[in-house]
């Protein structure tokens, strides 16, 4: 007679070492795990609440400048190094890991208007109110050497901005016109003008490196082609654009920070309508910088706050402010896309987390899985009113809060007026213009 026995293989339940996780047999029968939607909803709600609890984005403040910080630059090869120029002509180089200033140079008389690093990270350029362009070594002077620029170019007019080419020994300055310089020469190899107003900022396209964008104080944004040595197109907006920034992942997309409290994302091939209008600031937007992933950008505003916008949303996902932070003049997103730096009027550079509630440092795999799951849950239930309300809640300074209310009222009034105008005029005589088109005054070929 054959005897059947129950037998178990210990391999299936005994772990090899103590450090292994206990193997837990699971039964995925849905009847054993009821109420999946309510349970996940509760989890999502908790995750959202915890996110708000842990949202502490402020990391450090780098103080030492003796005047407002006017410009910032990232080091292209080192994440820990940041350069900043102040309104008193001082340039400082900071080490972010130590949170200390490692070098300071009295670079210019008057403002340091612009600062940019060379693509290889060995030197950097500054322009100032003293009509000079100076090239500096990134490393400090060796022992016994004096602190001196590598090259100094004396110009005829004030330069208001500078940007370096992403691959070659070429840089561009702006002032009365856009000049393109070879590093080896003391005169520009090419200068391009279109109109007569002063140009406030010039930026090279990081992908198609021969493209440049500039914005002038006569409310326009001009695009140039360096290879053909000609401007390409000009778009005139309602108000002045302070600076532009190219998307580092999408060659034809750039975002302009405007005086009318908004940011405009353009496709450079179709300038007559912005792709997206980003609005939330309550005062002029002074600077903008893209995350290196090209999915978000950060903007600095005169309203003493910085905001983070997803590129495809018109509303910001985050607003950072502190009691002591004054008008934010410049902002940069670090090249590992984890941090944001902003330089403000009250002489400080502040370091923020790009994701307010992110845990810094190394995560264990279980922590990582949990954060991923929580993130996905928040996304899944983001439309539910309770969760939406909690995740959108931000504390704002009273000035910003009241201005938002005020502007809401103004906007509503404008809308009502337009509606009334349409209602009381002959049908068809008053055309509704879309909000996007309204902001673009003209496109000049």
């Amino acid at each position: 007679m054959k005897v059947k026995m129950l037998s178990r293989n210990p391999d299936s339940y005994v772990r090899e070492t103590k450090l292994d996780l206990q193997r837990v047999p699971r039964n995925y029968d849905p009847t054993l795990h009821p109420f999946e939607v309510p349970r996940e909803y509760v989890r999502a709600l908790n995750a959202t609440k915890l996110e708000r609890v842990f949202a502490k984005p402020f990391l450090a403040s780098l103080d030492g400048h003796r005047d407002g910080v006017s410009c910032l630059a990232k080091h292209p090869k080192s994440l820990a190094t940041v350069l900043s120029g102040a309104c008193d002509g001082e340039v400082r180089i900071w080490n972010l890991t130590k949170r200390k200033c490692i070098r300071m140079i009295q670079a210019h008389e008057g403002f340091v208007r612009g600062i940019c690093t060379r693509f290889c990270g060995t030197s950097f350029f500054t322009v100032g109110d003293d009509k000079t362009v100076k090239q500096w070594k990134m490393d400090g002077p060796s022992y016994g050497e004096e602190e001196e620029p590598l090259h100094t170019i004396l110009g005829k007019t004030v330069y208001t901005g500078i940007d370096h080419h992403w691959k070659e020994a070429v840089f561009a300055t702006c002032g009365q016109q856009v000049d393109i310089w070879d590093e080896q020469r003391t005169s520009p190899i090419c200068s391009m003008t279109w109109g007569f107003d002063s140009i406030s900022s010039v930026k090279f396209n990081p992908i198609e490196t021969f493209l440049l964008g500039s914005c002038a104080s006569d409310r326009n944004i001009v695009l140039y082609d360096m290879r053909q040595a000609t401007p390409l197109k000009k778009v005139i907006l309602d108000m002045r654009t302070n600076t532009i920034c190219w998307n580092p992942m999408e060659a034809f997309i750039f975002t302009a920070a405007n005086e009318d409290y908004n940011l405009y994302t353009f496709d450079m091939r179709a300038l007559d309508t912005p792709v997206m209008i980003h609005m939330d600031h309550v005062s002029a937007v002074l600077d903008v910088d893209y995350s290196p992933t090209g999915k978000d950008f950060v903007s600095a505003s005169f309203d003493k706050s910085i905001r983070i916008f997803p590129v495809d949303r018109s509303r910001s996902r985050e607003v950072y402010h502190t009691k002591r932070m004054q008008h934010v003049i410049c902002v940069k997103w670090t090249s590992d896309s984890k941090y944001i730096m902003c330089g403000s009027d009250e002489m400080n550079i502040r370091l923020w987390k790009a994701n307010a509630s992110e845990k810094l440092g190394v995560l264990t795999s279980r922590e990582k899985a949990a954060t991923d799951y929580n993130q996905r849950l928040k996304e899944k239930f983001q439309h539910h009113p309770h969760i939406k309300r909690i995740s959108r809640h931000r504390h704002l300074p009273k000035s910003i809060y009241s201005q938002i209310q005020e502007q809401r009222i103004m906007k509503e009034a404008r809308r009502r007026k337009e509606l009334n105008r349409i209602k009381h005029s002959k049908p068809g005589s008053v055309q509704r213009v879309s909000e996007k088109k309204k902001r673009v005054v003209a496109v000049v070929k």
Binding site: P76, E208, E250, R269
Partner: protein, 771 residues
């Protein structure tokens, strides 16, 4: 558009340049002509000037006399006058040749041209340049479109995009690049040097260097794959060769040989055209083969096989043929081959003679192959097939034609037959049921009456139907080929129609009877035939059952729906009772009744109505009773406030608004909203979703590890953007996505461009100023 305009403007510029050149050319040419006679002319001019000093003859032109050798500006030059006159010169046709012809011609040319357009403004030109440049740039940029789209829609993006290969830098390299600068550093350095630290040791052993220089992993992988492939191919070819070698079939080998011969011939032909020298070598080879053949006795019909065949040849045709073939082969091999010729004629000859190169066998085979080769049959078989195909329609047509008249005649006939059959069947069924009824001794008289009435009604319906069908068939006579199908199709339609036709008179009757008989209280007998008929009807068309309430509603709108709902259920019950008593053979009917029995207990409709009534009651606003027991009278256990008092203190609630489901008998609308749930419910359909079901489905699929396996959990919770901590993310590059980045550097282009531009600008400016 803009580019074409730009082109036009450029063309205009070019034209202008040409025109500018014209006047310059002419003076130059004239001055050359006058070159050597310049002195004389000056002298002449001087003389003229002197002579004209008197004032009278100021503008007198120089007169020409034959004798003088001098040349004036606008007359024929006397050059060549020293030469001898040749007769041929005189014989030339008379021409109206004058030195002004060239000028005239040029003048005409200038006149024929229109006035030159004004060059464009500088702004205009710049605008055109800008437009052209913009178009070019946007074209360059549009190559990024697919990449951008892909990245936007990507499930997951991992940054940095390009994986950096870790570079192995030995510590010695790093150290050698570094120099001690500060005194402290120098001191330390000196100390280290004293101790002979391995700062300047041989950096790498040869082995290490070799290992560093070795192939990268990818290269190794590629190389390995290549080798593997080569090996596989080799083994495959080997196997094939072995297999082919094993084949014993003579025919196969013969064919193979012939094929090879053909191939060789073709190659030789090609070679002769391309490379005559190599062809000659080939020829020599052939020559050698001939020599070998002459030496050997291989194809001389002297071998063992040949002798045996020779015996057989007398009787066997094949053997004879084989022998002949061999001889032919011998002949062919023995034939002297002529060297490839040089001249074209000889080549032609060679070609003609080259034909014998083609072994006769080949030709023979072709001739032979004509018959057994299936491909050669194609025409023939194709014809037959075509014939078949052609035949088919005929055949098809024939039956169709046969059928057509048949259907024309039979169509109605068949229909009639079918109907008659049905009728018969039905009748037999009814007879059976009647038998059953007879077995039951209750109210047979009335039943009979009823059944006879039914028969009558059915007959009436049948006649109607027949009439209609004959009508239809008359219509269909035109489309004769399709009638058969049509009839077939019509049958079910007819069947569908039939019950409807049957029902009407009957239902009216049954309803009337129901009303009458309901009072009498003897349902059963009246119901029975109806059940029978209905059963049949239901067998064919169950949906017909649903038509009952509708028709009722249509006919008698006086009947309340609720009443109807309530009255229907008892009738069902009453149906159920007699059928249990009956012994029906029909199984289907049995089944139906079983279902009825099974659900006899739970009266869903009544329950529903009760529920609704309760809901209505509950939603009604309640009266408030404000009576206080014991006030103004005695109170205590068992004592109730007086009716008068109660009436006085009762606050009547106002009538609420009418319920929304007042007129919907089979619906309960809950008008109360759950406030607690609202906070957690999505009010509007969120943006990317187009239908609420989509959204609900995404919400209903859980993503947690409680409901999903580990793998799917990981996949579901995959983050959209992954970045590596401490890694610099560089802007996307053309090489990252497989595009070729422009090889020229931007700088070189810029340095070349401004010059060109400036020259052009200067030119344009000049022209503008000139004009």
């Amino acid at each position: 558009m803009s580019s074409s305009r730009a082109a036009e403007s450029l063309l205009a510029l070019n034209q202008q340049e040409e025109l500018e050149d014209l006047p310059r050319e002419y003076p130059l040419s004239t001055s050359e002509d006058e070159g050597d006679s310049d002195g004389e002319r000056k002298h002449q001019k001087l003389l003229e000037a002197i002579s004209s000093l008197d004032g009278k003859n100021r503008w007198k032109l120089a007169e020409r006399s034959e004798a003088s050798l001098k040349v004036s500006e606008f007359s024929v030059s006397s050059e060549g006058s020293g030469e001898k006159l040749v007769l041929s010169d005189l014989l030339e046709p008379v021409k109206t040749s004058s030195s002004l012809a060239a000028v005239k011609k040029q003048l005409n040319r200038v006149k024929s041209k229109k006035t030159v357009e004004l060059p464009l403004h500088r702004e205009e030109i710049e605008r055109i340049h800008r437009e052209v440049a913009f178009n070019k740039t946007s074209q360059v940029l549009s190559k990024w479109d697919p990449v951008v789209q892909k990245n936007r829609q990507a499930e997951q993006l991992v940054f940095p995009l390009s994986k950096q290969q870790s570079i192995f830098a030995p510590i010695e390299h790093v150290v050698s690049g570094w120099k001690a600068r500060t005194p402290l550093e120098q001191e330390i350095f000196n100390l280290l040097h004293k101790n002979k630290q391995p700062v300047t040791d041989p950096l790498l052993t040869p082995m290490e260097k070799a290992s560093l220089k070795a192939m990268s992993l990818e290269e190794v992988k590629m190389r390995r794959a290549e080798l593997q492939r080569a090996r596989a191919l080799q083994s495959y070819y080997e196997a094939r060769a072995r297999r082919e070698k094993k084949i014993k079939s003579k025919k196969y080998h013969k064919l193979l040989k012939k094929g090879k011969a053909k191939q060789a011939l073709k190659e030789f032909e090609k070679l002769r055209k391309v490379n005559p020298a190599a062809a000659l070598e080939e020829l020599e080879k052939l020559e050698k083969a001939r020599m070998m053949e002459r030496m050997s006795l291989k194809h001389q019909n002297s071998g063992k096989w040949a002798k045996s065949k020779a015996v057989m040849a007398k009787y066997d045709l094949e053997a004879r043929q084989a022998m002949q073939e061999q001889l032919a082969r011998n002949k062919e091999l023995m034939q002297k081959i002529q060297a490839a010729s040089e001249s074209a004629e000889e080549e032609g000859g060679a070609e003609e003679e080259g034909e014998p190169f083609v072994p006769d066998v080949v030709n023979e085979v072709q001739v032979k192959a004509d018959t057994p080769n299936p491909w050669m049959f194609r025409n023939h078989s194709g014809d037959t097939k075509e014939a078949e195909v052609q035949g088919d329609p005929e055949e098809l047509a024939e039956p169709a034609a046969q059928e057509a008249p048949e259907s024309e005649e039979e169509g109605p006939v068949v229909a009639e037959e079918i109907l008659l059959k049905e009728f018969k069947e039905r009748r037999s069924l009814r007879q059976k049921s009647r038998l059953n009824q007879i077995a039951k001794p209750v109210g047979s008289q009335e039943a009979k009456d009823l059944s006879s009435q039914e028969v009558l009604s059915e007959l009436r319906a049948l006649s109607q139907k027949l009439n209609r069908e004959s009508h239809q068939s008359r219509k269909q006579e035109l489309s004769s080929t399709r009638t058969v199908l049509a009839v077939q199709r019509e049958e079910p339609a007819g069947e569908e129609e039939e019950p409807l036709l049957l029902q009407r008179p009957e239902r009216a009757r049954t309803l009337d009877e129901l009303e009458e008989l309901g009072k009498k209280g003897c349902f059963q007998n009246k119901e029975l035939p109806r059940v029978a008929v209905e059963g049949q009807q239901l067998e064919r068309n169950p949906s017909n059952h649903l038509g009952v309430p509708k028709e009722k509603k249509r006919k008698e709108q006086m009947i309340d729906l609720q009443n109807l709902l309530t009255t229907k259920s008892p009738s069902m019950k009453s149906l159920a009772v007699p059928t249990t008593v009956e012994e029906l053979e029909d199984e289907e009917r049995d089944q139906r009744q079983m279902i009825k029995e099974a659900f006899a207990g739970d009266d869903v409709i009544r329950d529903f109505l009760k529920e609704k009534r309760e809901a209505v009651e509950a939603s009604k606003p309640k009266d408030v009773d404000l009576t206080l027991p014991g006030w103004g009278e005695w109170g205590g256990v068992g004592l109730k406030p007086s009716a008068k008092k109660r009436r006085r203190f009762l606050v009547k609630a106002p009538e609420g608004p009418p319920r929304k489901d007042k007129n919907l008998p089979n619906v309960i609308l809950n008008e109360k909203r759950n406030i607690h749930a609202v906070a957690h419910q999505v009010r509007m359909l969120p943006y990317p979703f187009t239908h609420h079901q989509q959204f609900e489905r995404t919400i209903q699929t859980p993503i947690g590890s409680t409901w999903n396996t580990q793998r799917s959990f990981q996949k579901l919770t995959m983050p959209k953007v992954v970045t590596k901590p401490g890694h610099i993310i560089k802007p996307i590059k053309a090489e990252d996505v497989g595009y070729r980045s422009s090889s020229r550097s931007d700088l070189s282009v810029v340095q070349r461009n401004p010059k060109r531009l400036s020259i052009r600008h200067k030119k344009q400016l000049k022209k503008i100023s000139v004009d």
